[in-house]
Symmetry: C2
Subunit: 137 residues, 2 copies
Amino acid sequence: MNDNEKEPEAEESGRFAYTGLDPVLHSQNRIGILTALATHSDGLSFGDLARLCSLTDGNLSRHLDMLARSEASKPALVKITKSFQDRRPLTTVVLTSNGRKRFREYLTQLEKVLRDAAAQADAQAAKSKTRPGLAGA
Amino acid sequence: MNDNEKEPEAEESGRFAYTGLDPVLHSQNRIGILTALATHSDGLSFGDLARLCSLTDGNLSRHLDMLARSEASKPALVKITKSFQDRRPLTTVVLTSNGRKRFREYLTQLEKVLRDAAAQADAQAAKSKTRPGLAGA
């Protein structure tokens, strides 16, 4: 047994549980919304956000509700402000400091998944290199 | 308008849609199962896999069904083999080549999310640096 080929028994329980992948954030659409908002610190209008994330108004509303008002997202991850621009109603969405913090923690978990998967690729490469009969094949 | 502060209008629709985040793979538990299997090219026993991912037997079965038999995972992403070891039944799970390919594509999408979020952090840093009155603060 070498470092590249650990027995499963040597690995701790829950090694691949990734419990830190916050379910409020771990959704294809909400990842998009949060990345878009993190990219625009002054916030985005509801319309621009829907367009950038390819979401219908109804779908975006549903996701924003979850990020702003659900029990699991307290304190709120996004703040929604209604105002007027040229006498037309304007809804603006901005990431809260809690939203930025939770999103950063979530991204750290994604990095962990990528590191784990990359470590595996390295181990595999090392394994094939030392496998007899495959050198130079 | 400089490079660090693009107007939303300048960004293409769907810029943050992340449609490549394969819903069959994009689940906290299935990410764990696939990373565990990718780390063990000879496969893992059902028991070891459950332990490494902190899953109950029932939950692991349900996720493996989705990865091996659902319409959305054709050809199958994992292969399940039943055999005997010391006269006791042994279920072994291994990643198929299609599973490895789909998981790699999924990881590429995660990298894109992280790149997009990191680009934002850089832009923010540049922005604060050039903000008057905050130098050295």
